[in-house]
């Protein structure tokens, strides 16, 4: 136990140190991602901006949780339409080990003007992170081999199974997909 605490202390110390060096505030600690390359803020809203290397751990966590990771952007109309479904799903299953993360692909120059006001106005409760990595041909297949790159797109996974949807989803479809993945029968 003592060892664990000591380890944890050092991990925190090291990560603080790295963050400190880059002058970047720590965000999204629960998600155990890499360091953000930038953090944009508006009052209490803090959104980490990651390259793919930083984001990747979020797509491969092997704990008891199921992750629903939606790739979207404020400029993508069908994405915006389905966001409330993700919010609803996250709220309904938050005590059942399900975590919804909204990965925004908004352009880096538009985060202050577009993304932050949107998150504020819609009062999004799911975690929002930004993926900003122009080397798309390298990272898209790492999210899902079958993904062509169109959004909206959604990855649902846990330590045993993965499912990927390159399409808009209704709330019913989303919930069915989640249940199909977590159903161990």
């Amino acid at each position: 136990m003592k060892l664990c605490v000591t380890c944890l202390f050092f991990v925190i110390l090291i990560s603080c140190n790295r963050a400190g060096k880059k002058g970047v505030r720590k965000v999204d600690e629960g998600l155990k991602m890499g360091l953000p390359k930038n953090v944009v803020t508006d009052g209490a809203i803090q959104i980490g901006v990651y390259d793919f290397e930083g984001l990747e751990p979020l797509l491969n966590r092997k704990n008891g949780k199921t992750y629903v990771v939606n790739f979207w952007a404020t400029w993508c109309k069908p994405c915006v339409t389905e966001l409330p479904y993700f919010e609803r799903l996250g709220e309904k299953y938050k005590d059942s080990g399900v975590e919804v993360v909204l990965v925004s692909l908004d352009m880096p120059g538009t985060l202050d003007k577009k993304l932050l006001p949107f998150v504020k106005r819609e009062a999004l409760t799911s975690r929002v992170v930004v993926l900003d990595d122009p080397r798309q041909n390298d990272w898209i297949p790492k999210v899902a081999e079958e993904w062509s790159g169109a959004i909206p797109a959604t990855l649902i996974y846990n330590k045993d199974r993965r499912a990927f949807y390159e399409s808009s989803l209704t709330y019913t479809e989303l919930e069915e997909n989640l249940n199909a993945l977590t159903d161990t029968k």
Binding site: C76, K77, P78, M107, P134, N137, I140, G149, I151
Partner: protein, 205 residues
Amino acid sequence: MKPLLRISLLLTVVLTMGSFSGPSHPVDEGYRIGDIAEDFSLINIDGKMVSLSDYENAKGYLLIFTCNTCPYAQAYEDRIIALDRKYSKMGVPVIAINPNNPEKSPRDSFEEMKVRAHQKKFAFPYLLDKEQKIYPLYGATRTPHVFLLERKTHGNEVKYIGAIDDNYQDAASVENRYAEDAVNAMLEGKEIRITTTKAIGCGIK
């Protein structure tokens, strides 16, 4: 007699299965490299119908599914214009197709296409996939989405599918000009090094 009947029955089943299995991949997935792409007849912003076969001297075509509204398509607009400027005189013109349904995306209407093409002085056709039959046939999923075709005696062969290059944000930081490299190799009769690439784009509406 009995075993012979059995064998012939089995043979019939196997042959029937074979004839039903059809192409090696489902049609709704669209084209793959090496497939022969179908020609089309779509309306251009000038009101005339355009087909691949109209280009009698073409060596190939840079078919680009793009639109007015998608920020990625906008980010690539100038690069699409540059591609046409460079390659149309070498026999590989750009043909842009807007695959979006204007009812779902009003700023991608035929009228708005005219406005945009005029503003940006498009020197290439900007067609509307009015019935939304061509983009699924090709397997386009997003804007922008490039299909390089080589004109051969037996039809237009798909040579490259994917992105224009590897950096949508900044044309100056591009390291791999996928589409240009593919056209250059095609024109030189060389093997295309990278034949498919992926990129983020707006799902077709």
